[in-house]
């Protein structure tokens, strides 16, 4: 009987060993250019994104055939011109380009990418247009139009609110673009956009905001401004006598963490959209990454998750193209198979990522899931 138990145990052990077999290095290297904003206004997402990318590489350093992906990192300091210069400098040895930059940068490098015909994976940028205009670009994040559509639908059909005010920043392309998408969609849903004004026009005066609340009978405000302007607005807004809710665009929490870490309380109760939620169910991939990050005293957030997923999709594309030919890699990036990301199941179709996103409510510096939208 003892022999039987030992035999069964051995079978279990051997089958688990098989699973963990690691490839041996072949010596061949696949070069991938990376442009990341490590300073300037985009530093928060650039640095966190790179953490996710390198975590993924540490966990899976080689392709199954032993070839290694080597990243050549350049910091564009959140400057479009620098990014353009770096794309110009890409040589024939590089197989692909990863960018951890804003939408403005991504739009700015379209001519260079098109000219070089280099498959480009935009990890952070959310603008709708670059994947339409440039056939060598793939977007890993949700698009502005998708974010606006989900926001409007959630407000209209889940919260059953019909009167919305839109506050945007007139000097911010992203803010204006997403606000326009939102307004269009909300109206389509028979909602009423009571006002649409730039934040600058309020001069950050309490009486101006109070007048807005008193006159317009608002249910909710859609706020698409950056962290600094949102901070100033919420500081004043939270002192008003009102139960009007705030719905903010993505990335606000991360930016606030970077710029105003001691004032996170002002975000309590704000609804927002993100790829990530602190209360989401973690899949096997996210559990592996969380364990790794914890070991290195880091934590999982939206941008580290995106960085990790960028490695996954690039890895799969390279795996599918045996000679690492740029055209093949580009096709595999733009039309991927369905795979388990850190945050949800992912698949690219014509360069656009199809993924679930979360509507969260911020409480005590954490985004708590309200709903997950596919």
């Amino acid at each position: 009987m003892m022999k039987l138990i030992v035999a069964v145990s051995l079978i279990f052990l051997l089958s688990s060993c098989e699973k963990d077999r690691k490839p041996l290095p072949s010596g061949k290297k696949i070069y991938v250019q990376v442009i990341a904003s490590q300073s300037g206004s985009g530093a928060a997402f650039g640095l966190q994104g790179l953490q996710g990318l390198f975590s993924a590489k540490d966990l899976k350093p080689l392709l199954p055939n032993g070839d290694e992906i080597v990243f050549k990192i350049q910091d564009d300091s959140s400057d479009v011109k620098k990014s353009q210069k770096y794309v110009d400098m890409i040589d024939k040895n590089s197989t692909a380009l990863l960018t951890f930059c804003s939408s403005a940068t991504q739009l700015g490098i379209i001519p260079q990418v098109q000219h070089k015909k280099i498959p480009t994976l935009a990890v952070i940028a959310t603008h709708d247009d670059f994947t339409k205009v440039c056939s060598y670009m793939t977007r890993l994040s949700m698009s502005n139009s998708r974010e606006a559509e989900v926001s409007a639908s959630y407000i209209r059909d889940e919260l059953l609110m019909s009167r919305v005010g839109i506050i945007y920043s007139k000097n911010n392309i992203y803010s204006k673009s997403i606000s326009e998408y939102f307004e269009r969609k909300f109206k389509q849903l028979d909602g009423e956009v009571v006002l649409s004004r730039s934040i600058e026009s309020f001069n950050n005066k309490k009486e101006n905001y109070q007048k807005l609340i008193d006159d317009s009978d608002l249910d909710i405000i859609f706020l698409s401004t950056n962290a600094l302007l949102s901070y100033k607005f919420l500081k004043v807004f939270n002192t008003l006598q009102t139960d009007v809710k705030i719905f903010a665009t993505d990335g606000l929490l991360s930016d606030m963490h970077k710029h105003f870490p001691n004032d996170m309380d002002i975000l309590n109760g704000v609804l927002t959209i993100d790829h990530y939620s602190h209360s989401m169910e973690f899949n096997e991939q996210s559990k592996i990454l969380i364990k790794y990050l914890k070991k290195h005293k880091l934590s999982l957030n939206s941008f580290t998750g995106l960085g990790y997923e960028a490695y996954q999709i690039l890895y799969d594309a390279l795996l599918a193209c045996k000679t690492y030919n740029r055209e093949c890699v580009n096709n595999k990036l733009r039309n991927s198979k369905l795979f388990d990301g850190v945050i949800s199941n992912l698949q690219t179709v014509d360069g656009n990522m199809q993924r679930a996103i979360y509507v969260n409510e911020i409480q005590d510096g954490k985004m708590l899931r309200k709903v997950k939208v596919y």
């Binding site: 009987m1 069964v8 989900v150 059909d157 969609k185 389509q188 369905l338 709903v371 596919y374």
Partner: protein
């Protein structure tokens, strides 16, 4: 209160500083002082017969003084050092010198008994062998000393070894048994000895009192410790694993222990005879001490050794480490084992009840009536053979195992046949929600099975528990799925049969294993066959682990689906779709998702097609989806 008019203060070097204070006492007592070494050399040089001694010395020197006091009829009072916690506690003194001095000078007509072991005199306790956390208790102060003591004691739990011991009383009665250790204790009615023995004792009852500790397992030893801590003064029960001997004298002989440790300070070699010195010495002590130690003339010899192993059992335990869980011999639980053997045998009542309960359950399931199904559970006689099966498994008792397996198998066949027959006779009826619940089990179903198995084994172990209650709990887990399986057979629907039967079988295994484990924890495994039976259980576990895992995995998956869907929304062709509820089930070999949706605008074919694709992408499999749609106005 009357004080002595004169006294001799005997001290060791540690008490040098106290001489002035003692001499200048304001109680008008004439006090002379003397170093204890000089006093012990020539006591009568310093004091006359019948006079009073005040002692400030360590325990070994006190013991020598006691010899002198007994010999020359001296009365004594104590000035203990702060570290002498045991002495302070025993005589109800305090750590305040002045207060102790006032007590030590009191005239007292009351004497205490002392125990003489060999040539040594014991005041408080004497121990041999291993009684962790009792015999080696430290009287050091502080939290860290307590933790250190506790850690050491717990480590020793796992090293407790039983040894043969022989005790002979004054009336020449000889007790032979195996124990981990024993202790002679001079205890007040509030003290340790009274708590363990459940009888009030006193240091003035003219008896040597001895406890023998014989735990069959670490768990039992823990229970004993718990009784030491928690026994109320009014309890009259003798703690488990403990024997009690009261006599004028006891002679202790052991095979392994060489020494009897006295008052944590000195020892005598075994074998030794310990005898009472009745009213040995007059002691100055507070009123509280005399109240806690009333004099007693009920000093008949008493021996209570029912909880100790007899000579036959002693053979098994001698010179062995005690196991974590207890073992039991059949002789020890004769009644229980004979009841279990009866339960494993087939008889007509079982057949009739099994048939009636299944018929009732089948009709209840068709009527979709929980009340009728519960009625069926009250009749079901499944508990008895399952409990016998568990015990047979634990003790690797092939006879019991076979008999109970045969009885269960007959019961299952009868139940399947009866419910299939009812289904065949009844006009064609659809599956009711009660039946569907049995082919789509949840985690809670397995929970019911496991807990009812524990309850069954537990209730079988104690006569005072009404066993039918646990029987109903078992029936909850077994009768409805079994009847549903029979309905599947009757309908010719093998999928319903297999799914319901899988639930029945999983629950049966869950109940049996949890009952087996409960019997194991309660100490019913056989000392001889336990390893063999554990192997058997392990083997069964390995063989059933795959179907159990598959079944459990499906259960967990269903729970996850219904939990996750509470937050899931779909944006399809610009239409926002709220998932209100979702239940995953397995019918006709396919995964079926019943989904409740809420929308604000109508869904067309294309929307539904895309929604299905999105859902399938999310669950990574093909599904049959039944959706019901509600409109939000």
């Amino acid at each position: 209160m009357q004080y002595h008019t004169k006294a001799l203060f005997v001290y060791d070097n540690e008490a040098l500083d106290w001489i002035e204070l003692v001499k200048n006492s304001d109680l008008h007592v004439k006090i002379t002082s003397c170093n204890i070494e000089l006093f012990l050399q020539e006591p009568l040089k310093y004091i006359n017969e019948g006079e009073h001694l005040i002692i400030a010395a360590d325990t070994q020197e006190i013991e020598k003084c006691l010899h002198v006091a007994i010999k020359h009829s001296l009365s004594i009072g104590f000035l203990p050092f702060a570290r002498q916690k045991q002495l302070i506690r025993h005589y109800c003194l305090s750590s305040n010198l002045q207060s102790n001095l006032n007590i030590a000078l009191l005239q007292s007509d009351n004497s205490v008994d002392l125990i003489e072991c060999g040539d040594k005199i014991m005041q408080v306790k004497a121990t041999f062998g291993e009684i962790p956390l009792v015999s080696n208790i430290s009287y050091k102060n502080g939290f860290f000393a307590f933790i250190e003591n506790l850690k050491r004691g717990i480590k020793e739990f796992f090293k407790i070894t039983m040894q043969e011991v022989s005790i002979t009383t004054e009336n020449d009665k000889k007790i032979k048994t195996v124990v981990s250790g024993g202790s002679l204790v001079q205890s007040s009615y509030k003290g340790f000895f009274s708590r363990v023995s459940g009888v009030k004792h006193s240091v003035r009852d003219s008896q040597v009192k001895m406890i023998l500790v014989s735990p069959f397992s670490v768990i039992e030893y823990m229970k004993f410790l718990f009784s030491v801590i928690s026994f109320s003064k009014n309890s009259s029960n003798l703690s488990n694993a403990v024997g009690l001997i009261k006599s004028k004298s006891v002679t202790i002989e052991t095979k392994r222990s060489k020494r009897l440790h006295i008052d944590d300070s000195f020892h005598v070699y075994l074998p030794v005879t310990c005898k009472i010195i009745d009213s040995a010495v007059k002691v100055s002590a507070p009123e509280e001490f005399w109240e806690a130690n009333p004099s007693s003339d009920q000093n008949k010899e008493s021996i209570k050794t029912d909880n100790l192993p007899d000579e036959k059992e002693s053979e098994r335990y001698r010179d062995k480490h005690i196991p974590f869980f207890s073992y039991a011999s059949e002789e020890h639980f004769r009644e229980l084992f004979s009841a279990l053997r009866d339960d494993a045998n087939m008889h007509s009542i079982y057949v009739v009840l099994m048939l009636l309960s299944t018929l009732l359950a089948t009709i209840g399931l068709f009527a979709n009536s929980i009340a009728v199904v519960i009625g069926a559970m009250l009749l079901a006689p499944l508990m008895a053979p399952i409990v016998s099966l568990s015990m047979g498994l634990l003790r690797a008792d092939t006879k019991l195992l076979n008999a109970s397996l045969i009885k269960i198998s007959w019961g299952v066949l009868l139940a399947l046949g009866a419910s299939a027959l009812v289904t065949y006779i009844l006009p064609s009826m659809d599956l009711t929600s009660e039946m569907k619940a049995r082919i789509n089990p949840t985690v809670l179903d397995l929970g019911v099975a496991i807990i009812s198995g524990i309850a069954a084994a537990y209730s079988k172990s104690f006569k005072e528990i009404i066993q039918s209650l646990a029987g109903v709990a078992i029936a909850v887990a077994l009768v409805p799925p079994l009847s549903t399986a029979g309905i599947g057979l009757g309908k010719g629907d093998m999928l319903v049969f297999l799914q319901a039967f899988l639930l029945f079988f999983t629950n049966l295994i869950g109940i049996t294993l949890s009952a087996t484990l409960t019997f194991f924890v309660l100490g019913y495994s056989s000392v001889l066959k336990s390893k063999k039976s554990l192997m058997l259980i392990m083997l069964i576990m390995i063989f059933i682990s795959f179907p159990l895992y598959t079944s459990f995995h499906k259960i967990v998956e269903k729970e996850q689906v219904s939990k996750a869907t509470r937050y899931e929304r779909f944006l399809i062709n610009g239409k926002y779709i709220i998932v209100n509820s979702a239940t995953l089930r397995y019918t006709e070999g396919k995964d079926v998702l019943d989904i409740g949706l809420k929308v604000r605008e109508g869904l067309n074919r294309n929307d539904l097609y895309k929604l299905k694709r999105e859902i399938e992408k999310n669950y990574k499999r093909q599904l049959r989806i039944n959706a019901s749609v509600e409109y939000i106005l």
